[in-house]
Symmetry: C2
Subunit: 248 residues, 2 copies
Amino acid sequence: MLTQITIPFESKENIRYSCNTASLFHGLLMEQLSADYAEKLHENALRPFSQNILPQDAGGIWTVSILTAEDAEKLVPAVTNLKTAEMLQKNDVLTFGAPEQQSVSYSDLFRRHYIMSDAPRLIRLHFETPTAFKSGGQYANMPSAKLILSGLAKRYDHTCGIHDTIYETLFDEMEQRVTISGFRIRSASFSLEGVRIPAFLGEITLRVSGNPTFRSYINMICDYAQYSGVGIKTALGMGRVKYEPIKP
Amino acid sequence: MLTQITIPFESKENIRYSCNTASLFHGLLMEQLSADYAEKLHENALRPFSQNILPQDAGGIWTVSILTAEDAEKLVPAVTNLKTAEMLQKNDVLTFGAPEQQSVSYSDLFRRHYIMSDAPRLIRLHFETPTAFKSGGQYANMPSAKLILSGLAKRYDHTCGIHDTIYETLFDEMEQRVTISGFRIRSASFSLEGVRIPAFLGEITLRVSGNPTFRSYINMICDYAQYSGVGIKTALGMGRVKYEPIKP
């Protein structure tokens, strides 16, 4: 089960919360959880949630996406029960509005792309908070189809318990059959505890060739990306993405 | 000797000449040359000139850059003697304005970067007409530091008669010591005889580490790029670039 909660908040001090402040909200979220469960989340490299902030005048919009039903049981109440919060780092107090919640099961996601639709060949991804990758141990701030999709494939498998994917074959296919046909991107950095992570923002259009099953798969994991995020540090506010299938 | 001629032109039919029309100006230029010399240019894969069009209302600006003194003898008069030209493909007649010409010798270029200046670590390149590369036999429309610089190094050597560069070492150094630290780019296509070549436009900031000699070299070839262009089909209007050293 994939669950997404969107919750607006107002700042007492009229502060506009930038996407970089998501790490503060990560801290806030951890404070609402049992120490055991927070510790377990911390140990899990592929975290079962992503969260991010979109700025608004005098506040922002907080989005938390949870990738498994088990984690949703713990994380959903932690978010939706919040009414106010002190933000000590900003000398501010936040008031949370009404949360909106939507869910989709993995089987619905599968059906939506494999059965219900004629999978489009063009997919536009809108990167709404700074997005970056690690490649060969280094930060990579310029996207490629393979960097975007290979991480999504692994995270998708991890969260829905698939263990038999032959990644070498899959990643080769991604490299051969998916190209970036259009883009409008710019460099952007994400500040995290005083460190500036080189990243990018903007839009990318993927062109997917190959058979309908492969096209369905790529569409499905790009739809999934709206919950998981793309690239590194998606639990700390990076890699928020919107999926837009482009119908011919 | 590097020579650049800039010549404005007016269109009788008030047509705005896009950067894609540079191939027509390539044809016009070839018509002004002896058949033997035009043939010789055609056979030379690394052409000793680049040319491109920047659009203006009711016309445009034609820039022709020539990379050797020998070729300048033939190409400069072919450009500067033009007063009018029929553009049959557009049912148009062009009137050329006064050409501006500037030159720099390779030794001056060398001195400017190696001796006169403390080579900056940041270089901004402004890609003003669609720019693309070939990599592994395929068009590449997204830039990398290596794609930009490796082609420049080879063209620089070719036009000033250097034969002893060990490219493997140089390209490794480029990959390790030059990163794209900032960018604002978008996809763009260049139309050439009915074919759309995927390309990009925009700005890229290179960060050069390493010793001063290497930094001077990278600055020098990026300055040279203003004459040679970057990437493929620079004789047909692609890959026009402006070099901007960023002083600390």
